[in-house]
Symmetry: C2
């Protein structure tokens, strides 16, 4: 194995260890460097060979989680093109993501209102990405104006994230109910926005 490869492998071990520590009881700021090092199977001091700070690791985690989220979006879009309602498909895809990558989503959720300004900014950036892409999609696939599409997309994304926050700790049955509620609420927004098309 290469020297670079080995280093990347260790780096990956650190990242994975950190993600695994981020269960429902831990946040980035409450995870210590030594703890991560222990979980990754390296000495505390070796951590510095890969990251300057614990904060640098944190930003990396946010980026990775955001990337996973963007991949989810593409997946949802491709499913929509293959048929099925936009809203239903998106919500289902999102809920699957929340379940399958709960720690990643929890990270975004928690750091969105967390104590580190840098982390908050990073998460907000990811969410803006999310909103923008949905807004563009909406503007291209409906009669909504750019401004209206933006308003609707923002409202929808916020609602979806808020629902995801509750879904993450819920049972599958509860989650199904929440998903149905969310779908109805998104339809209300869609209907409400379309009303303003004639007036704009």
């Amino acid at each position: 194995m290469n020297r670079q490869q080995q280093k990347l492998k260790t780096r990956r071990a650190i990242i994975d260890a950190a993600f695994n520590l981020l269960d429902e009881q831990r946040s980035l700021s409450s995870v210590s460097l030594r703890e991560v090092a222990r979980a990754a199977g390296i000495a505390p001091t070796s951590f510095y060979r890969h990251f300057k700070d614990i904060d640098e690791l944190g930003l990396t985690l946010v980026d990775e989680a955001g990337l996973a989220l963007r991949q989810l979006m593409r997946q949802a879009r491709s499913r929509i093109d293959a048929g099925g309602g936009v809203i239903t498909t998106s919500v289902n895809t999102f809920m699957e993501f929340v379940v399958a990558n709960s720690n990643e989503f929890r990270l975004l959720l928690r750091e969105h209102s967390g104590t580190s300004p840098a982390f908050r900014a990073a998460v907000i950036r990811e969410i803006q990405h999310f909103i923008e892409e949905l807004s563009d999609y909406t503007a291209n696939h409906t009669e909504l104006s750019g401004n209206l599409a933006s308003l609707q997309a923002e409202a929808m994304v916020r609602l979806v994230f808020s629902a995801g926050a509750e879904a993450i700790d819920a049972s599958p049955a509860q989650r199904e109910i929440q998903a149905q509620r969310l779908i109805q609420q998104l339809r209300i927004i869609s209907k409400g926005a379309s009303f303003y098309v004639s007036k704009a």
Copy 2:
């Protein structure tokens, strides 16, 4: 000064000190007992004369913040009765609360997705309260069915909280823009929900 009075005064000093520590860089779980004691001007060990845990203090803080929020709601309702749009008045009142009681709102925001299940539950309880009262108000003042009113109220509250999360760190000018966006989004929801009245 009474002995009881003195004890209450110290208790208040602890609570206020804790609130003041909860600025944009600190969360409940990152505030230490010793830190609170230091800020309150007492010895670390004296803390135990008033609270069993740091957690017990945390729950007290959530309760106090929730109470302030409920008072806000009453204030908003009274203003609506005195004239002015429901949505505009509510949003303005809410934004004022976010500014005037930023640390209290930050607490609710942060612990809503925080690491302590007990704190999370406490915050969710407060938000449910919020949703229920808005839902009742809506059911009484509009033609919406109970179910629809509930859906709308939930969506609105989630949106408002989400907007508040961004507003808390924004400049007054930004906040004004955000408030206007929020108002438009709430109108969209209101319009969309009213559409379903005829179909229900």
